[in-house]
Each structure stands twice: as structure tokens, then as C-alpha cells.
Symmetry: C2
Subunit: 472 residues, 2 copies
């Protein structure tokens, strides 16, 4: 890296909630690229794993768990100075509660995921629908009034960065097919571009090949990012943006009763739902359809409607996540334990010895078949680019940095998702931390090599149907 650029100045205080993998990885980036004194930063965290880093960095910190009953008392005094920012990098702390609080005191806000309070994902007193990301998003979007302090929600790698990757990929594919570069400006223009290209499926296609020099033990969940976070979303019902071209209703599929209608959910955990997808390193793969905010927000953003409000075009959009090998084994073990958490948990970072977090989008159904565009960040390069980071964390933390910068520069936009933020300047801010940004076409589709060794129920007339993509 050349000398760090200063992207923005923090006028008030910067409050970070949560100091797990992402908090630890984000802090050095904020200190590097923002004009902010460590003494103006306060970290509120229940975790003690990052204690040495906190002490070494000179920031203030308080070791406390934020709960429904104490969060106002703790946060309001910290955010009283004008121009303050609340960066929520925790899990089990309600995003909606925190951005309401931030807005109420005039502070900016950012998170990487719309989180409920603890237990919100698996509380069986609430319906599956009420525990869906779709409903968390619908609730958050009710606060989408302009002229309120900016609250950037769901702005990590995915959700977040990937919304920008989708737009760049669409521009690339259009250029490669039609020979001219056009950059849409409005939601409607973007959706029209996707429709013109006949994009049917958008996968957030991620393949994590990171490997550690410590073996997973029996009864241990190992992952390259928050184990609690992954189990939480993995046990939510699988959700996906549901395209207008789909012709087979999944047996376990359900529509949400209210809201934008862009997505459906399946009556099984995402951690039990596999799909066929593709990334450059592995080629074809089975991946997990874990519910994620971007599956819904991207499908919603790329929807065209007729004057009655009926959707006339929408791509199917979902996450297709192949976590690292140790996480594959951990998920398999978790399922065998009938989803009861392993007694031990470990987030890999310093023990990673090789591998890549290949995070991109697969844009499919157009005249060139399918195009993967994304970041191929190796563990080695991540280590060179920033301290306290792995490839997985750095893709998130760089996006957090960019989101904070955008919020400072655009302080009165209310609740905003990545899809609504201009993509080019954001990609420019994030990409120095992404390793190679690669675009690759592939001939693969979910019908490739099917019908062997047994016959399968596929529709050969439309390869990119979810019916063909899902693994039964």
C-alpha cells in the first residue's frame, strides 16, 4: 500500500458496538483513513478477545454487554456530541433499536446486518415469517424518511459491497454484449438494464478456501468469521429474492404476508438448504442458501412493476455460500446434533496459513450465459494490507469504512441500503482492500452434467430456474 489517504473527518465521537473479528479488523482502517483521534473513539463490547488491541490502540472502551434494558443508558451519553457516529458491529444487539436511538440524538449510524436482540432468530414463539430477514428489513425500511440522520444499514461485504459488485457486473456484461458502456442512474434504469440483458439469476457466490494450521475438534464450530453470527443466520429459514421467470413453486416455499413481495422463504434452515453455484477457483459447487439481507434488497431494487404495482421483471437472487472447509465440517456436525450448538467455538484468524475468500456475484441468464465478478482476496494479501484482519474480515471492514465515509459526507439521508448508494465511488473506496477484482465468464449452468448417475427432475428449457439450482 502507498501512504494512506484520509477520506473524511469525524466531527463528534465515534462509538463502536462490538469488538469481535469485524470490530477488531475495522478499528485500524478507521484510524488509518479517518481524521479522528483515538481518544474520540469508544468501543462498547462484551468480548475480551480483543483487549490487548484495544489497550494498544489508545481508544476508550467499556466491557459491557448491550441489552434491551441498558443500551440507552450506555449509548446516549457517548453520542451527545454533535457529528457523532454509532457503528454497530455486534451480534444480538437490535439494529432497529440502535439506529432509532442514534437518529433520536442526531448521530449517524452504520451496521453490517439487520440484527434482532438475542434469540430473535430462533424464538419459536414467533412465526418463521416474523423471524425472517425479510421482516427485519421491512421493519427497518419503515424508518426510511429523508432529512433524518443517515443510518446505513446492512453495509458490510454481503450485504453491502455485493450490491456494488452487481451493478459493475451488469455494466460489464452489457458492454461485452452490446459494445457500449452505459451506467444507469436510477433504480428504474438499473432494473431495465437487468431486464434488457435477460438476467434471471443473481447469486452472491462465495467460496472460502482458507485453511488453518489447527484442526477442528469434535464438538467445535470453526469459522472464518463470527460463529454465533453464522449459526444465527444459518438457523433462520432460507430466503431468496424470487424472480418473475420462476415457474416451479418450491414445496416448502412460503410468501411473506406483507411488504415488498420481492422474496420468499423456505420452511427449513438455510444451513440445511443447498444450491448449485459457481466461482472461478472451485468451478461448480454445492453451496448453502443462507438468508441474507442482500438477497431481498437486490431482488427488490431490480424489480420493475406495471402501473398496478404488479412485478413485471425481477431476477431471482440469493446467497450461495461455500464457507471454509472447517465450517463445512462444523455445519455437518451441527446438523447431526439436531442444530444444538457445539460446546466449543473458534474464529480462525491468526492460525490461517493459506487460502482465498472469493466473494462475488454470479449474474446469469444473459446472452453470455453467466458472469462472476468479485474479490479474490488471499489470506496472505489480507495480512499485508491491514493488521488484525483475515481475508474474510477485510472485505467486510473495508466496506464498513466506506459506509462510514459516505454517511459523514451524506449526513441527512435517513435509513439507506447499499443499493441506493452510487456504486462507483464506493467501489473505489473499498477496492484497495479487495485484492484482485476479477470478472470471468463461464459456460457452466445448473444443468451441466446432470442426469447422472441417476435421473433427476430438471427443466431443460430454462437452465436458471431455481428448480434446477436447488439440491434435493
Amino acid at each position: 500500500m502507498s501512504e494512506p489517504r484520509e477520506y473524511a473527518k469525524v466531527q463528534g465521537r465515534l462509538v463502536i458496538v462490538g469488538f469481535g473479528l469485524i470490530g477488531q479488523g475495522t478499528l485500524p482502517l478507521l484510524l488509518r483513513h479517518l481524521n479522528v483521534d483515538p481518544s474520540s473513539i469508544t468501543v462498547v463490547t462484551a468480548q475480551t478477545t480483543g483487549l490487548k488491541q484495544l489497550e494498544a490502540s489508545g481508544v476508550n472502551f467499556t466491557l459491557q454487554s448491550l441489552t434491551k434494558t441498558n443500551y440507552k443508558e450506555i449509548l446516549i451519553p457517548l453520542l451527545s456530541q454533535p457529528g457523532s457516529i454509532l457503528v454497530n458491529l455486534s451480534i444480538n444487539v437490535s439494529s432497529i433499536a440502535l439506529f432509532e436511538l442514534a437518529q433520536s440524538v442526531g448521530a449517524l449510524y452504520l451496521d453490517t446486518c439487520i440484527e434482532p436482540w438475542e434469540g430473535g432468530y430462533t424464538d419459536t414463539k414467533r412465526t418463521l415469517e416474523d423471524r425472517s430477514n425479510y421482516m427485519f428489513r421491512e421493519t427497518a425500511l419503515k424508518f426510511r424518511a429523508k432529512d433524518r440522520p443517515t443510518a446505513v444499514i446492512a453495509h458490510g461485504a454481503n450485504p453491502g459491497l455485493v450490491s456494488y459488485l452487481v451493478k459493475q457486473a451488469l455494466v460489464d456484461v452489457h458492454r461485452d454484449i452490446h459494445g457500449e458502456e452505459i451506467i444507469p442512474q436510477t433504480q428504474k434504469e438499473w432494473a431495465e438494464l437487468a431486464k434488457k440483458l435477460d438476467v434471471r439469476t443473481i447469486h452472491i457466490a462465495e467460496r472460502d478456501t482458507q485453511i488453518a494450521n489447527v484442526q477442528k475438534q469434535i464438538g467445535e464450530f470453526v469459522n472464518t468469521w463470527s460463529v454465533d453470527g453464522f449459526i444465527g443466520e444459518g438457523l433462520q429459514p432460507a430466503e431468496l429474492g424470487w424472480g418473475t421467470h420462476e415457474r416451479y413453486w418450491p414445496e416448502d416455499g412460503k410468501r411473506h404476508k406483507s411488504g415488498c413481495g420481492a422474496a420468499i422463504y423456505l420452511e427449513q434452515p438455510g444451513a440445511a438448504t443447498k444450491v448449485r453455484s459457481w466461482t472461478p477457483t472451485s468451478g461448480p459447487m454445492h453451496a448453502y442458501l443462507i438468508t441474507h439481507n442482500e438477497a431481498i434488497s437486490i431482488a427488490d431494487y431490480f424489480t420493475l412493476r406495471d402501473p398496478t404495482g404488479k412485478a413485471t421483471y425481477r431476477p431471482t437472487c440469493h446467497y450461495a455460500y461455500h464457507p471454509c472447509n472447517d465450517a463445512i465440517l462444523s455445519l455437518h456436525e451441527l446438523a447431526g446434533r439436531q442444530w444444538r450448538e457445539q460446546p466449543k467455538k473458534r474464529v480462525m484468524r491468526d492460525e490461517i496459513v493459506s487460502g482465498t475468500d472469493e466473494l462475488g456475484v454470479l449474474i446469469a441468464g444473459h446472452a453470455r450465459n453467466a458472469y462472476w465478478f468479485g474479490s479474490q482476496l488471499t489470506a496472505e494479501e489480507a495480512g499485508r494490507l491491514a493488521p488484525y484482519n483475515s481475508a474474510t474480515s477485510l472485505q467486510v471492514c473495508a466496506s464498513v469504512l466506506a459506509g462510514v465515509v459516505w454517511a459523514i459526507e451524506n449526513p441527512l439521508e435517513g435509513v439507506v441500503e447499499a443499493d441506493e448508494i452510487p456504486y462507483q465511488p464506493m467501489l473505489e473506496l473499498i477496492s484497495p482492500y479487495l485484492g484482485p477484482l476479477t470478472g470471468v465468464y463461464t459456460d457452466w449452468n445448473p444443468l451441466t452434467n446432470r442426469q447422472w448417475p441417476v435421473e433427476e427432475s430438471v427443466d431443460i428449457n430454462d437452465p436458471w430456474l431455481f428448480h434446477n439450482i436447488r439440491v434435493w
Copy 2:
């Protein structure tokens, strides 16, 4: 180990076909426990991985692949001496062709699996049914005439050893429930014992926790035994002995059109079929229902019929295999490649640093719920017990040794399966190589902890239904 005991004398020549993991592990046991000179042994193999061992052991060997067109020419001269034995430890060499040849020249025969010629498992010109283990077994059993040279078929760890474990487990459970030890003598008495105990389900429940100090690479299938063998059986349709208590017909279930009727098959590969099972080390687990001869032979053996031939009692019986972690990852990758083999293959042996091959039977549905009985052989103990072996190979190789001894002592029994051989002397022969032989009761059943985080279709009135056991 104390001084090796001599179990039997080889009168003629000993011919071993195949010298992969099992051939390599079996040779030192045969040399240790049989009265046979290395110069009376010939190994026919296409593999060169065991070349140094062959040279060091002083046996004759010929490096050649056995095919439909050359096997008679190669084998007949080797078996001409009276009292010779053909031990088939290869894959892709037809068991039926080989035991027919052996019987035709008056030689004894043993194999560990009823193999077809190369491609026999996945030849789509043949129906799924014709590629099933059930049909291979039915074809083999047509040769079951007495007063022919003994041909012990399917006599490794499983199939083979596990048939003896089932009998010992039934004797144990009966003793623990009814306070007296009875040892049935006939097939009918054994089936009546299982019925009296109300045994509904028999899992061959195996958990391999062996770990190597070499990481699995992308595009590499890693296993603790033959990769070709595992892929071959994994791609066959899942098959299971079908109990008389079952009340839910699987949507993809099919009956074979002829034969004993003890089993059914599913229209999907076993490597894509998961079931809930249990072993002492891991507790509850998801395992693969890989088709295996013992699933059919045990179900057949424990069938009671009314005078019209209708089955009045039969337990459900199938393999529930949790291979080692690297093989779990390899299977996941193979499925993602739409079952097209990885370009690289590796059988772990000398690089194994820890772990156990826990191979046993789970006998369930009786008054004590479920009882697991089997071998818990660690990698370390296997290394101490025999050279050129891992825990996985040694369980197989010790059973091969015992089968060869039995054939020598009982030379005119025709085609025989383990189920028909008295279990106690065989267990005595094999158990010095099995590590601890452990029997454990468990309260677990396939309904334990179900219905969370989503509702599932289960039948709470009969826990041990296959409907409850299968993972959807």
C-alpha cells in the same frame, strides 16, 4: 501382542488379487498367522504403490490389471495346485467371475465385497436395479450349492465382521433385558430372538475420526480406504433392508423385481442420502446411507416368514457411515462437481496422526432403546498391532484373515456369507485386532431434539421408523 498364533496351513498356493490398502494390510497378517511360505504366495495387482512392500516380503507378484479378457489366462495357472486359495481384494474385478473360476479349478475363494467389472456401478445402459448390490448379491447366491469349494463372499469389516457384531449385540441385549444368555443356533432362532426383543432398526453405525497431517487440496478426494471403492459404492443407489414395521413408503423408494425381497433401493446415490444415527464418540450424527451387502444380507437373515413365504418379521437394516473429515469434504466437493471424480485421489495411511475408526452396530427399538456394539480402534493402536495398516484397514484385514482360516477349515461349503458362519469363533479370531470391543446403551433416538428450529414431518409414535431416521 503376544507371540502370533498359527491359525491354519495353506496346502496349495495363495493368490491375492489387488494390492491397495487392504492387500497391503492383509499380507502381513496372512504371513503372521498362516502356515505358508512367502514363495507360495502370488500377488496380482495393477497398483505400484505397494511395490517396496512386495519386494521386501519375498512373495511373487505380477503387475497386471485383471480384465474380462485376461483373468482366466492369468489366474488358472496360479491356482492349479490342490488346496489353493484366491483372495480377491481388488476393485473393478468381478467377484462372480472370480469365484466361478476358483470353484471350477477346485480352489477356495474370499472377497470383501461383491464387485462387478469396471463401470458396473454406473453403467447407465443398465437399470438402477441391475446396478444394485441387491442384484449383485442375488446373482452370487444363485451359486450357493453345497459340496462345492468354499467361496466366502463379502467378508471384510462391513460387510463381514458386522454380521458377527449384530449377533453378539443381540445376545448382549437379551441378557441385559431378560437376565439369561441364550445363543441361537439356526437362522430361524436368530430371527426369533430379534423379534422377541422387538428390534426394529439395525444400523451399521460407523464414525471415522482419523485425521492426517496433510491437508485435502481442492480437486482431491481423500479417504481412509480405497477412493475408487468409496466413489463406486457411493454413486450406486442407496439400498436398505426394509423392516416389516415400516409404515411410510419413501417417495423415491423402489422394490427390486425378483429375489428375496428383503431390501429396497432409493432413486438417488447413497452419497446423497443422509440418515440420523449414533456412535459413542460423536453421539448423534448425520451419516451417509451407502449401499452395502450387509444391509441386505442381515435383513434377509433376520427375516421370519409365514408358510406362504410372506415376511412376518424383519428389521430395517442399513449402513450409516460418517467417514473421516477429509472424506466428508471430498464427498461434498464430489456432489458439487455433479459426481464427476476429482482429478486427484489420496488414501490416507502413513500421514494419519490421530483418530479412531469406530465401527459397530446400533441395535434399536427394544426395551432398552438402543445398543451400540463394536470396535473402537485408534490409529495409534492399529499401528502397534500390525505393520502396513491403519485403523480402517486393520478391521477389514483381520476379517479377511479370519475368513481365509474358516475357508481352509471348511473347504466344501460353496458360496457363503458371514451371516451363515458361527459368530463366536470368528469374533475370537478377529478381535485381537479390533481394539476395545465396546457395548453402550443410549437414550438417543431419531426424534431427540427434533422440531426445532422448524417443524418437521415426524411420526412420534414409532421413533425407529426410517421416515424419522432419514434426513431430508
